[in-house]
């Protein structure tokens, strides 16, 4: 056991059992998997992906490149960092080697998403973030604080000591310069009389949570920062409960946040140094070791060497020494280490090697000794490394902020902020606790002031407007740069040491997760690569799922060294969302299973379901495809339904067709401009079929137009194009012809519509509508009547899409089920679905837009020259119909095809060729089959096809290219059934 006897933010009263790599272990609430593993003495956690080298725990946060684990129980989750997995009872996990395992069963957990709006979003609940939130909320602003940790405090959670007492007072009262921490790095504490930092953080967060307009979100990582201050965060709500997670509670929640201002208080990541063997288990970031000691009461080793370029590692060394780790030496690469820190560690008997480096970490499987640059070898099981601190600028850069290299810090720091974004604390390079508290408060105040003051914080303004810009262009101090102390000296005393030179750099690891070494980078620059983006792609450094959080500055610095230029000239690679990996399940939220996409149903849907209809999707609509009876397959059911329509009467639910009322004094002229044929001459009471083209002359949609009155039409559209046609109409009305006095109103779902078709249709209708004069003379084809059907107010249109005598009965949608039942209760009508409808219309050669057309088909190609008005001055697409290409004789025409084998059903999409035996490629295609069925009326198979010069080939023998060879087919007119229309007109 390496757990200290006391201390830490863990609950020792409870023991959590877990299993790792087959070993049964224990930990406590408050542990991460990483801290529990360290406490249990587990040093090797994973295996590197390329070289199979042992890897341990390197960090204490989401920047972890090494300790990648697979959760197996309670539910498989791949590629998690042990440093961010909160320990729970029953956890079963194992170390990975670069690749995880997806669950082989559906995830039973719930996931959801929520939209949120606020005046100020503060990212990070460390000292700067909490100060910012408190300042921003002081005036009643709507504030959200999102923090990735289970409790607030950020870096304070890893510190032993206090925060300045003044910071519990209102933000403006924070005393400046009272703590004498100048030169401390970072957030060194333990010197003040204030309460422990974590307690201050908890109290501050609690105080914030009590405010009605403030929301504090723990366990919430902001992963994306987009234009207009739209941010995406993921809240982990039950994963830390393991199997005890309540099933009703969403496991993860995606927050989509719109913030008027954003304060980024995202802190800093410590970075490593490249030297031989720097990947061995036992090599750990100094700040991480400090966090393990203070927060988790875990000693990550017994005998340690410290290798640093800054002061922070001294604080780590002292904390670990205090906890019982023997610190053998501090190798401080700086020629002149900070004298105060040097003295303090010497008081603890720790030797400081000024200008010293670690040349190699040695060991098999883990660190057993450390060799310093002067050749001394220390027996040690722990090597603490601190190569400096990188401000976490990921979100800042995602949204367009630029960074610059700061020579004082030896790091890239925020430079020009995007609109309405503030950066505070360590995220902009500040290094002392006092400064971070004050900076956060100032940022929060600025954010609140930029909202425009006044009593209302309603948040109705748009981000990035008004006074927002002022802050962005303010003083240099406010522009995100590193603030200097009053005496003008940089607060940080960073020292550039990126790698310890050696002849063999093949174990100088830069990107631990991708196993990229200094040698790899040298190979890349040696091959002539100069751009850090190219080096990244060539070596894969920074491309693993940690996205190079620890290697992000090391790589450009080493590239710069190789090229002999300053690192600022090399720059950083692009920062892209997400900041940390996000599960697909979280992104899917509740949009899965039955809620994956809306299912649209007609008023009669319940009946269809009860009768066992097989449905097909038409866009989002569910439409009955056929109604199989006992023992029937699809072919049998469709044939029976077709025969019923051809021989008696069938009914179909056609409520899904789009319906648009077009009203106004210019309605007739408007429709004349949109349809290819004349609509203005249509008489009230009559119906006309119409085709619309796009401006390119290609068929866009078709349907019937009913003239209700002089100034009023009802246009129907195809099911799939209902919204598109309305948009099309509005586009022309609003942008091209605003002078036309026309209003378009969708009434698609106002009506339920039943198609009644077949030779017996009139008889059935007459029985249901005794007040309707239904004789052919009184109610001819292509007219409509308002009447009552089965006691319901109804509009009956005499139109046919089957070639039979047919009506479409429209009633208010609430009456749809009653009408449907009334029609079927006559006992003379067979319900039929879309498949039978397809067969019936195809026998008549009626095209379906979108099936028999594909956006390259003109009305003439469909054989509808008669639909193209010669009388109208213009209509949309008219000019295109006279282009040389659209009048070619060999354009593909819609024709019928009759296979010589009357039982052969040619698959839709089949290519058609001229020759019985395929010549050598290239083979010219004559066209393809668009629809193919077994026709009930025809008593044989048939097809519709688009065939080059097809109308000139009627009677010709061409060939369908099938898997088993070519099948001969006869080209025919597309109208194969009742070409005279006698049945329809009956």
């Amino acid at each position: 056991m390496t757990r200290a006897a006391a201390g830490g933010r863990i609950d020792r009263s409870r023991v959590l059992r877990f299993r790792f790599d087959g070993r049964d272990l224990t930990g406590h609430p408050g542990d991460t998997l990483a801290s529990a593993l360290l406490a249990a003495g587990v040093r090797r956690v994973a295996t590197s992906v390329r070289f199979g080298r042992p890897r341990g725990i390197f960090s204490a946060g989401p920047e972890e490149p090494n300790a990648i684990v697979q959760i197996e129980e309670p539910f498989p989750e791949p590629m998690l960092t042990a440093t961010t997995v909160e320990l729970y009872d029953g956890l079963v996990a194992r170390g990975l080697s670069g690749r995880g395992r997806l669950a082989d069963r559906p995830d039973p957990a719930r996931y959801d998403a929520v939209h949120a709006h606020c005046d100020v979003l503060v990212v990070g609940a460390g000292p700067a973030g909490l100060s910012a939130a408190r300042a921003a909320a002081a005036d009643g602003a709507r504030v959200i604080v999102a923090d990735e940790q289970p409790e607030p405090g950020g870096v304070l959670l890893g510190l032993p000591g206090g925060v300045p007492p003044g910071s519990l007072a209102p933000p403006g009262a924070v005393p400046s310069g009272s703590l004498g921490l100048s030169g401390a790095l970072p957030l060194v504490s333990g010197e003040s009389a204030g309460p422990p930092g974590a307690e201050w953080a908890a109290a501050t967060a609690a105080e914030l949570s009590r405010l009605p307009e403030v929301r504090v979100l723990p366990r919430t990582t902001v992963v994306g920062h987009y234009d207009g201050n739209h941010l995406v965060a993921v809240e982990r709500r039950t994963a830390h409960l393991g199997a005890a997670a309540p099933a009703w509670m969403a496991r993860e929640r995606v927050w989509r946040i719109r913030a008027r201002r954003v304060v980024l208080a995202t802190g800093a990541h410590e970075r490593p140094i490249a030297f031989a063997g720097n990947d061995l288990p036992g090599v750990m970031l100094a700040g991480a070791a400090r966090t393990y000691a203070n927060r988790y009461a875990v000693l990550p080793g017994r005998r340690a060497v410290v290798f640093t370029t800054d002061d922070a590692a001294y604080a780590a060394a002292l904390d670990l020494a205090g906890a019982g780790v023997r610190i053998l030496a501090v190798a401080d690469a700086r020629p002149g280490p900070n004298g105060r820190w040097r003295e303090r560690v010497r008081e603890h008997g720790i030797e400081v090697l000024a200008g010293g480096v670690v040349a190699e970490a040695r060991g098999t499987g883990e660190v057993t000794s450390v060799v310093t640059g002067d050749g001394r070898e220390f027996e040690a099981d722990l090597l603490l490394v601190s190569g400096g601190w990188n401000p976490v600028v990921h979100l800042f850069c995602q949204v367009g902020g630029t960074v610059r290299f700061d020579d004082g810090l030896q790091a890239f720091v925020p430079d020009t902020p995007p609109p309405a974004v503030e950066v505070a604390g360590a995220a902009r390079g500040l290094t002392s606790l006092h400064d971070c508290l004050a900076d956060g408060a100032a940022a929060g105040t600025r954010a609140a002031e930029a909202l425009g003051g006044g009593g209302s914080r309603a948040g109705t303004g748009r981000p990035g407007t008004g006074r927002d810009r002022q802050a962005g262009g303010g003083s240099p101090e406010r522009r995100g740069g590193v603030r200097r102390a009053a005496d003008g000296a940089p607060q940080a005393n960073g020292h550039a040491l990126w790698l310890v030179p050696a002849d063999d750099c093949s174990t100088h690891f830069v990107d631990l997760q991708r196993d990229v070494t200094v040698a790899d980078i040298r190979r890349a620059t040696g091959a002539g690569l100069r751009s850090v983006e190219h080096v990244k792609r060539h070596t894969t450094a920074g491309t693993a799922h940690d996205q190079g959080k620890t290697s992000g500055t090391l790589v450009p610095a080493i590239v710069a060294g190789e090229l002999g230029v300053h690192v600022r000239e090399v720059g950083v690679t692009s920062f892209r969302p997400p900041y940390t990996p996000v599960s697909f399940a979280a992104l899917a939220g509740r949009d899965r299973g039955a809620l994956h996409d809306p299912v649209r149903v007609t008023p009669m849907h319940g009946w269809h379901v009860e009768r066992g209809a097989v449905f097909e999707n038409a866009g989002q609509w569910k439409r009955p495809r056929y109604y199989p009876r006992e023992g029937e397959d699809m072919a049998a059911a469709v044939l029976r339904e077709c025969r019923a329509v051809r021989g008696g009467a069938g009914a179909m639910d056609v409520s899904t067709l789009g319906k648009i009322e077009v009203r106004g004094p210019d309605a007739a002229g408007f429709l004349d401009r949109l349809y290819t044929n004349l609509m203005g001459t249509l008489r009230p009471g009559s119906i006309r079929y119409g085709v619309m083209c796009r401006a390119d002359g290609m068929v866009f949609d078709d349907g019937t137009v009913i003239r209700l009155a002089e100034d009023r039409f009802l246009a129907t559209t195809t099911t799939g194009n209902a919204a598109a046609v309305l948009d099309w109409m509005e586009e022309w009305l609003q942008t091209e012809w605003p002078s036309l006095r026309v209003y378009c109103t969708s009434v698609t779902e106002q009506w339920a519509t039943v198609a009644l078709a077949g030779p017996a249709a009139r008889d059935v209708l007459s029985g249901l509508a005794p007040r309707l004069a239904a004789d052919a003379a009184d109610f001819p084809f292509m007219t409509w009547r308002d009447t009552e059907v089965a006691g319901m107010p109804a509009r009956v249109c005499r139109i046919s899409f089957s070639g039979e005598l047919a009506y479409e009965i429209n009633v208010g949608a609430w009456h749809g089920p009653a009408l449907w039942s009334a029609v079927l209760d006559t006992g003379r009508v067979t319900p039929y679905g879309t498949e039978a409808m397809h067969v019936l219309r195809a026998e008549k050669g009626y095209p379906i837009i979108g099936q028999d057309t594909d956006g390259t088909v003109t009305p003439a190609d469909l054989g509808m020259e008669w639909m193209i008005s010669k009388k109208k001055a213009d209509f949309v697409g008219r000019r295109s119909l006279t282009r040389a290409d659209t009048v070619r004789r060999d354009r593909r025409h819609l024709v019928g095809l009759l296979p010589e084998d009357p039982g052969l059903l040619i698959p839709e999409g089949t290519q058609l060729v001229e020759h019985e035996r395929l010549p050598a490629p290239p083979v010219r295609s004559l066209g393809h089959v668009t629809s193919s069925y077994l026709g009930a009326g025809l008593g044989r198979t048939f097809a519709l096809a688009l065939v080059s010069g097809g109308r000139d080939r009627i009677g010709d023998r061409i060939f369908a290219v099938l898997d088993g060879g070519q099948a001969p087919v006869a080209v025919a007119s597309p109208v194969l059934y009742d070409p005279e229309g006698a049945r329809r007109d009956g």
């Binding site: 809620l595 009155a709 969708s746 308002d786 009447t787």
Partner: protein, 256 residues
């Protein structure tokens, strides 16, 4: 996934009303049991009269409508007026610069303002053209076009509004069955909506008297805020079952 959202409901229920003869009306969510939690309540308000009005807000038709309604058509984006009393009780929702939705208590009736659930005569199932202002016995004769006014079975509200619009250029269209209304109420109603609606629903931004067309989950809706944390969600009838199931799912944590 949602529970309690049957594919088909029973033949009676809040959304099913027996009309004349066999003409039984059925609302899109008929048969879906209302939800009555402490923090979330949810129920369909079926069979409202809904009329889509298009007109120039400064024109003659708008003036006629305003006079008839006793209140100007709202011109401030994202607001609604009402309920207007003294007329068939109705509310007027701003949908666009020249577009409104007028919603009355009961659809499908040629009579004025019958109370909800007013029985067969008010149920819109009676013979059309029998009384009220439904134009010219449009649907009764069954022998020809209606002469340019109402559609068969349209609401009395639509007919009255059309008459009020007069001869000015306007479109007054009965869309009572185009959408149904889900009433969502309770202290967690805003939270439920926030799971699927990108609008800022803060009471100071989206308080009583405001409305907006937006998306809720993957459905287009008209959302209107009322008093006492109550919202009306107008949704296309074909999307209603989907949205109901989605709302039930989104409300899971608030129904415990």
């Amino acid at each position: 996934m949602a529970e309690g959202a049957p594919e088909t409901g029973p033949e009676t229920g809040p959304g099913t009303v027996a009309g004349a003869g066999r003409a039984v009306r059925r609302s899109p969510l008929g048969g879906f049991a209302p939800v009555a939690g402490e923090r979330v309540r949810m129920a369909e308000t079926p069979f409202l009269a809904q009329v889509d009005v298009r007109a120039d807000p400064l024109g003659e038709a708008a003036a006629g409508l305003a006079a008839a309604l006793g209140t100007p058509l709202p011109v401030r984006p994202g607001t609604y007026t009402g309920p207007v009393t003294g007329y068939p009780p109705c509310s007027v929702f701003w949908l666009g610069p020249d577009k409104w939705l007028v919603v009355g208590a009961e659809g499908g009736t040629p009579q004025e303002g019958g109370p909800p659930g007013g029985g067969a005569a008010a149920g819109g199932s009676g013979p059309p053209g029998g009384s009220g202002t439904l134009g010219g016995g449009a649907a009764a004769g069954g022998s020809g076009p209606s002469g340019g006014s109402g559609a068969p079975g349209e609401s009395g509200l639509a007919a009255r509004l059309r008459a009020a619009a007069g001869d000015g250029h306007a479109a007054v269209t009965d869309v009572s069955a185009q959408r149904t209304v889900i009433r969502l109420a309770g202290p967690a109603a805003r939270d439920v909506l926030a799971h699927g609606c990108p609008l800022d629903l803060h009471p100071r931004v989206f308080g009583p008297g405001t409305c907006a067309r937006s998306t809720l989950a993957r459905a287009d809706v008209l959302l209107a805020a009322g008093e006492d944390e109550e919202f009306q969600i107008f949704v296309r009838s074909s999307f209603a079952a989907y949205l109901w199931a989605w709302l039930l799912d989104a409300a899971t944590e608030y129904l415990r």
